[in-house]
């Protein structure tokens, strides 16, 4: 049987000198970057980064003094979509100039990092080699820190605004992860960002159709510094609107119990 190559991979047909590698630095400072990620940063002729704290920026600059931040693209009142577009344009402009470029993002650049995707797509469409290196995501940290394993629980995840906007259908008997609960419907960035209680009430009401008010949910934030613990706060679902929820906070909703089993599939386990 012929194996079909993914479209993205098929489009890697570099015809020009500049190149782009997008990497994720992981969540915890320095310690979750893979050897491959570190090598990409060190070898690049130009490095761009969007990270969450100054220490991470110092770490990248130590690996490559050519590193420059992208954070200035994010300004108050400016649509985030435009900020991300500006970031990707800045990255691809360096690729066009013939440089071997590395773009470093917080967490796993392959998970919900729009400028990373935009930069890769633009660079490839212009005939440059562009690839993404997997990193450690907040979700990876969540599973480890909460000691939950999706096998036997199932596992669904949505960006929280998208979850409400598209009225996503999901199975409450499988675990549910909602990203960016503190950024519900936020088109831009502003100082002192936290979830707006009135929007958190809308989210809570949507979830209450499937879970009881007392269903225990977890507000989670992975540790960004290796000397810190992750922030894990368990609350009843009904209390969600009263909580101060930060942009980096993830909502983990444990599954409701289920007893449904397909008898035919169950029998597979006892067949020779």
């Amino acid at each position: 049987m012929r194996v079909r190559r993914p479209r993205a991979a098929a489009s890697i047909a570099p015809s020009r000198r500049g190149s782009l590698t997008v990497v994720g630095a992981g969540i915890t400072l320095a310690q979750q970057a893979t050897i491959e990620t570190i090598a990409c940063i060190e070898r690049a002729e130009k490095v761009f980064h969007l990270l969450t704290n100054p220490a991470a920026e110092v770490w990248v600059r130590r690996l490559n003094p050519q590193a420059v931040p992208l954070g200035d693209c994010l300004t108050e009142g400016k649509p985030r979509s435009r900020s991300y577009s500006d970031m990707s344009e800045r990255i691809v402009a360096a690729v066009r100039s013939g440089l071997q470029v590395c773009a470093v993002f917080y967490g796993n650049a392959a998970v919900l990092v729009q400028p990373a995707y935009e930069a890769i797509t633009r660079a490839r469409s212009e005939g440059f080699s562009a690839r993404m290196v997997a990193g450690v995501s907040a979700e990876d940290c969540l599973f480890a820190d909460l000691v939950v394993n999706p096998q036997g629980l199932g596992w669904q995840c949505f960006e929280a605004t998208d979850f409400l906007l598209r009225r996503r259908r999901f199975d409450p008997t499988a675990a549910l992860i909602l990203w960016q609960v503190g950024l519900l419907g936020e088109a831009s960035v502003r100082p002192e960002m936290a979830g707006r209680p009135e929007r958190l009430r809308v989210l809570t009401a949507a979830l209450r159709r499937h879970y009881s008010a007392r269903h225990r949910v977890v507000l989670y934030e992975a540790a960004q510094l290796p000397i810190c613990e992750p922030i894990i706060k368990m609350i009843p679902l009904a209390r969600l609107p009263q909580e101060t929820i930060f942009p980096a906070t993830t909502l983990y909703i444990p599954p409701k119990p289920t007893v449904i089993e397909d008898a035919k599939i169950r029998r597979w386990f006892v067949q020779d």
């Binding site: 220490a55 909460l146 977890v218 290796p226």
Partner: protein
């Protein structure tokens, strides 16, 4: 000012021996560090919010995110199709989040959320 604290934290994160020294004798290592008293206190607290304040990524007033680029780099995907595929194969079946064990200090099981809740509450006043 924050560069010194950042450098101190990067040194710790990048050097397992240094990290071991810190974990064994934080005061000893900090005595050698070129940090202000506030920064040293933040490091000793090992409290992520307090350290974020010391690093300048959050405001002192409420411990909330101030740095516009900080906190989250994940994108809201309104109107966009995300190319995220989840394809993990997992082998163990545990679903209880009550028995969370500290992964760094090995302090043993604790009630999930109790301590962070107190910490966060005090920061947000």
């Amino acid at each position: 000012m924050n560069d010194k604290l950042s450098s101190f934290l990067v040194d710790l994160a990048s050097d397992p021996e240094r990290m071991s020294r810190f974990l064994a004798d934080p005061h000893g290592l900090l005595a050698e560090a070129d940090l202000t008293d506030d920064q040293k206190a933040a490091v000793l607290s090992r409290d992520s919010r307090r350290l974020a304040v010391a690093l300048g990524t959050v405001s002192k007033s409420n411990g909330n995110v101030q740095n516009l680029s900080g906190g989250n780099v994940q994108n809201v995907s309104i109107g966009n199709v995300q190319n995220v595929t989840i394809g993990n194969v997992q082998n163990v079946s545990i679903g209880n989040v009550q028995n969370v064990t500290s992964r760094r200090t090995g302090k043993g099981p604790k009630k999930a959320g109790k301590k962070p809740a107190e910490k966060r509450g005090s920061k947000n006043k």
